[in-house]
């Protein structure tokens, strides 16, 4: 490139001098030699700035020749008669060399600066890739941790109901077959038999809930949660949830506060109902009978509404307020919630709720109650766009069954 550029420099020098000479020659009767000299000097200056010292020197030599030949008496010769013209020649040369060098230096500086900048960029990129590698390793470690958490959860949440079932079934079988190895033959009374069968029934449901939760979580994580959005009224959604939650909340006082000015929302009503149900279910599980559970809904601005469920149970410590939304995390087992209530959930309710809320473009979090101890879980949902076209046809939505009665 430098070679090419200086070559262009010489070309510009030659043609520049030729053009300037030609133009000036046209007006030569009317202009004096000083003007010509200054015009040529200007050309030298420009070539020096643009192409460096050497093409500029060439320009100045050509300029002097042209000046001498065409504009200085005796015209048409290369003889220099007056000492003034020597001065002009020297001025040309000095200008050419000085400016050329100055511009070359400036260019070097610019190049140096450029190289510096490139070096910094390179370092930055290296650093960034190092960070990426590090965070990748961290992510791998996290995913390993997650896998073992999953394994633990599966171990506990599947084996526990299986244990109850197996123990019940083996008791019933033993009686039925009369092959007891114990000293005395066993006879279960009707109540004992009923109890065993009840346990089997309940534990099968529990296993099924666990599996459903797993599937639902997997669906959300794979981004396959298809929402069936339609315009719905918050009052109706909450009414449906409260009715469904009745068996769980029979021992609590349920208060509902819905702001009058709350707009209709474009959501998947069953999915949102599922979220509220999970929150109420949690509230009922983790607060004492007789205490209040408050369910409230209100608009935040023109685009969002907010739904909150708060109880009078324990206050969730700040350090685990985000982790409770991680799958299989159970505050009462995994956190240091101080007191020790046995974990009643599957560790999947809140993660699924979070998945649903986020699929709607909303957010869910835990915040302090205005007063008193307890937990307040809040989520907001975008109201939705009137112009949004209706979602895909309902039969594509196979996730429907997933939202069915989780209790």
């Amino acid at each position: 490139m430098p070679f090419e550029r200086s070559w262009i420099g010489y070309l510009v020098a030659a043609s520049g001098v030729a053009v300037t000479t030609a133009v000036l020659k046209l007006f030569s009767p009317h202009i004096n030699s000083t003007t010509v000299a200054l015009a040529l000097l200007l050309l030298v200056l420009m070539v020096a700035i643009r192409y460096g010292a050497r093409p500029a020197v060439a320009t100045s030599l050509l300029g002097v020749l042209s000046f001498n030949y065409f504009f200085l008496p005796p015209f048409g010769t290369l003889t220099i008669a007056a000492p003034d013209n020597w001065v002009a020649l020297i001025a040309f040369l000095i200008t050419a060399i000085t400016v050329g060098q100055l511009s070359a230096r400036a260019e070097r500086r610019a190049e140096e600066a450029d190289a510096g900048r490139r070096e910094i960029e390179r370092l930055y990129e290296e650093l960034q890739s190092a960070f990426e590698r590090a965070s990748h390793a961290e992510a791998l470690k996290q995913s390993e941790k997650l896998k073992s958490a999953l394994l633990d959860a599966v171990t506990h949440d599947i084996r526990t109901p299986l244990t109850s079932i197996k123990a019940s079934v083996s008791t019933l079988l033993e009686e039925l077959q009369g092959t007891s190895v114990s000293e005395s033959p066993v006879t279960l009374d009707i109540d004992a038999r009923k109890e065993m069968l009840e346990v089997i029934d309940e534990e099968c449901d529990r296993l099924n809930r666990f599996v459903e939760g797993l599937i639902e979580l997997a669906r959300i994580e794979a981004g396959e949660l298809h929402l069936r959005r339609r315009w719905g009224v918050v009052d109706e959604i909450l009414a449906t949830v409260l009715k469904r939650a009745e068996p769980l909340t029979r021992n609590h006082q349920i208060l509902v506060e819905i702001a009058d000015e709350i707009p209709a929302v474009q959501v998947d009503p069953r999915a949102v109902a599922e979220v509220v149900f999970t929150l109420i279910d949690n509230a009922a599980k983790y607060s004492a009978p007789g205490t209040k559970i408050l369910v409230s809904a209100q608009p935040i601005d023109d685009e969002m509404i907010q739904i909150a469920v708060e109880d009078q149970g324990q206050t969730i410590p700040y350090n685990i307020r985000e982790r409770v939304f991680d799958k299989f995390f159970r505050a009462t087992r995994d956190g240091d919630a101080g007191d020790s209530i046995q974990p009643k959930g599957t560790g999947m309710g809140l993660p699924v709720a979070k998945g649903i809320v986020e699929a709607h473009g909303g957010r869910i979090w835990i915040e302090d109650k205005k007063e008193g101890a307890g937990t307040r879980v809040v989520f907001n949902l975008p109201i939705g766009d009137v112009e949004t076209p209706p979602e895909r046809s309902p039969d594509v939505v196979s996730g429907r069954a997933m939202f069915q009665e989780i209790n």
């Binding site: 009374d189 109890e195 020790s340």
Partner: protein, 235 residues
Amino acid sequence: MGLSQPQRILIVDDESQIARVLRTGLKTHGYEVRVASDGVSALETFSDWHPDLVVTDLAMPNMDGLDLCRRLRAISQLPIIVLSVRGEEKTKVEALDAGADDYVTKPFGMEELLARVRAQLRRAAAPPLAEASSAVLEVGDFRIDADARKVFVREMEVHLTPKEYELLLHFVRHAGKVLTHRTLLSAVWGGNYTEQGEYLRVFVGQLRKKIEPNPSTPRYILTEPWIGYRFNPDS
């Protein structure tokens, strides 16, 4: 069994459904049963009610099963059966080291638990062998003359090296109880040898050759995989 007074079993499990089934199952078999949902309340029930046996889960809030074993062992010799799930091997071994007598892995059949319960209650009811230092120990097919250091299996005298004798003596004195590698090593070789599992394997192998009718399918010294051994004196 069940002649004079029903034997009392305390179940400790935070899983209410499991506790429910165990209570019904054990009651049906003539035991008196109480349930505690954690270690702390188990200790309270223990001191008020004096159970004959404790069946405890390992993972529990408040005080876990391992802690409960330690606390109970500090105040009582009653049999303790630990319930564990696979994956809790380490805790299970710790619990056995801490004084638990046996374990059942979840999920289990009720017959299995009942069999373990019976075995432990029987063992606990037997006269304490450890104290009978001068007497002749007789358990199942085994007769040990402690004074003469003579061992008879099915009325046949077997000649044991001093270490083999000590090992067998420990087995006989804790018949039916699951003994961890660590417990046996510490009892026979002393506390410095608790990590030397190969010693134990070698001596158990030699002992089996001398006392088992068929050493490749042992019926007296039973292997509890990854945990230790259990001595069954009746063939």
